[in-house]
């Protein structure tokens, strides 16, 4: 299963599901990463972590660890 943590720059994908076992699951959903939403990887920090995604018209930075609960295709 590919997750948002594996995204390449400029790749626009639609979220398929959010792993409900992840401790940040609810917060990830609440902040706007919901299935059906289009996301794009916009920036990576110097250490390749955290990652900044465009979602619902804003930029949200999350750790790779959290991005790995966002399942895409």
């Amino acid at each position: 299963m590919r997750t948002a943590a594996d995204l390449n720059f400029g790749e626009r994908v639609v979220i398929q599901d959010i792993d409900s076992n992840h401790p940040s699951c609810i917060r990830i959903l609440e902040i706007g990463f919901t299935p059906g939403q289009e996301i794009e990887l916009i920036n990576k920090s110097f250490f390749n972590d955290p990652l900044a995604f465009s979602v619902r018209g804003t930029l949200i930075a999350i750790r790779k660890e959290e991005a790995s609960c966002i399942q895409i295709s």
């Binding site: 401790p23 959903l29 902040i31 972590d49 018209g57």
Partner: protein
Amino acid sequence: MSVNASLKTPLIALVGPPNSGKTTLFNALSGQNYKTVNYPGATVEYSFGKILSRFNLEAQIIDSPGIISLVPNSPDEKVAVDALYSIPNYGTPDIVIATVDASQLSRHLFLVKQLLLSNFRVVIALTMTDILQKKGLHISPESLSKKLGCEVVIVDGRKKDSLDPLINIIETIFKKSENKSIPSVYNRLSDKNDLLEFYSSIERIESEVLSPLAKGELPFNIENANRQLNLIADMKVKENCYKIDETTVKIDKVLLHKIWGLIFFFLIMSVTFTSIFWFAQPLMTLVDELFGMIASEAVVLFGTGWLGDLIANGIINGTGSVLVFVPQIIILFLILGVLEDSGYLARGAMLIDKPLSKIGLNGKSFVPMLSGFACAIPAMLAARTIPNRRERLLTIFIIPLMSCSARLPVYALLIAFLIPPESAWIGGVLLSTIYVGSIAGSVIVAAVINKFKKRIIREEDSSSFILELPAYRKPKPSVVISNTVNSAMIYVKKAGPIILGFSLVLWFLTYFPDVNPEIETEGHTEEEIVQLQSAERLSNSYASELGKIIQPFMTPVGLDWRVGVSLIAAFAAREVFVSSLALIFKVTGDDDSIQESMLRSMRTAKIDGTDQKLFTTATISGLIVFFIFAMQCLSTVAVSKKETGGWRIPLLQVVIFTFTAYVLMFMTVNGLRAIGIN
């Protein structure tokens, strides 16, 4: 809820997600006329104010930290949400104004719907409609109002007259004098699918209230880009709304770039640091001299007896030692304010999250740690933005290790002793080394504490870093300035009474028992006699009794009770070390600068009762090391107690840091002696 609540001034609570324009609206409604209050037993701080009189509305308004959901995700958010239901002396607010960024509708309506479902009396203040317009979209407040069943107004906190419709609506609600509704606790949607259903109902509302702007309404530069808007269907609206700010993406290409981003980060940090120290220095000297002047006037006015001494040394110098750091705090918060308001601070936190997470901290620890270099007190207050309790406590724990500005005068004196004046640059290098050392020290301490975290800092919740990177904006000077003034006031109010109180205790300990020592007056100026008297008085004072108790701790590090007294004095506030050394070593302020004559007497001082030199390269180096690590600021201890909600963390800080400082001082002094440096 008390029965007579209806007789009180109505209370409006401002609620909204971070970056929704909440604080701008709060400032516009209440002006400068607000105070920050701490809830009893809680670390969350609220701004509490009255609606400006020109709005003709008798009401109180309260601003709370931004939340994205009524379901708290961290202890801090829990307090923020709980308090919304029960504000001390008010109970529940009469009206909740929810700020909603019109260009972030789906995300921000999430909280609004929760508020409505919980029975709060909600009025939506739609902000940032100009950004929505730039995206080629129009929002219908009427339609949104119908769909949600609450009042909706467009506001622009930056334009004063745009607030009138909001005020009118609030007034109408108050006049209706309907019974105050009692909000119910919002229960977390237990199921992911319920949450998604909740979201899609919001999305439906979003697509119904947004519509593309007609061609004539389009801002000129957008017109071409959106030529096909005529064909737009629902999907297109969504696509436009969810487009991110292109300028922001362009700027981020540089500021979050792998290499350039890091270079800019260090550049911005260096400028910040340099400004804190260099721009503040002349102002600090000014404050210092001003209080020195007032103190000597006071001596003239009240005489050299105990009263004059109390007023001059206890009260005036005590006040001075509080206010002397205000310039640094103001400069730091001005810079932080500009960085925050422009949107950069979130990027800084993102850049540094990874390395900090390795030692149990969080990208959000970055701002508090940075503030710690000016003063630990506002820094500890800034740590409230860290959602994870353990990471917040660990951040607060290591903040005293950031070499705050109070240590500068101490370092300056000790370095001047070690370095010959003709090679001042070595002093600069040494000072930088001290700063790097303090950062390295804090990293090591954080890493060690992190290893033992289960025993030292309990209550572990999962670490996360979820941070919105707001679009870059031009900072608004009035917002930055009012926040800066507010932060400086918090410092003065929190640290002021403690430093002043301790300064009085210290004065008492060094002044009493009030003996009038016999001294050789021949060949001395009047000023010198006063100095000699106070030195003699000190060696008979209660403080010296204390100093003699700790003599056994001073001998192993090559020092004697006189330095011990200064170190005890420095526990109130570090910079007191210099002035108490000056007292003890009979410094007479003649034509030389005080530092010159102090250095001279330090060079000749012998350990009490022996022929050994008291201050050597070894012992001075030891003292520097001691000052890097020791927890010597009572105001910090007090604030640490307040912010962590107990004595556990502050006591651990005092014990661990002071013990570490002493051990390292011992190792430095004896290590240097062992290799022949004395």
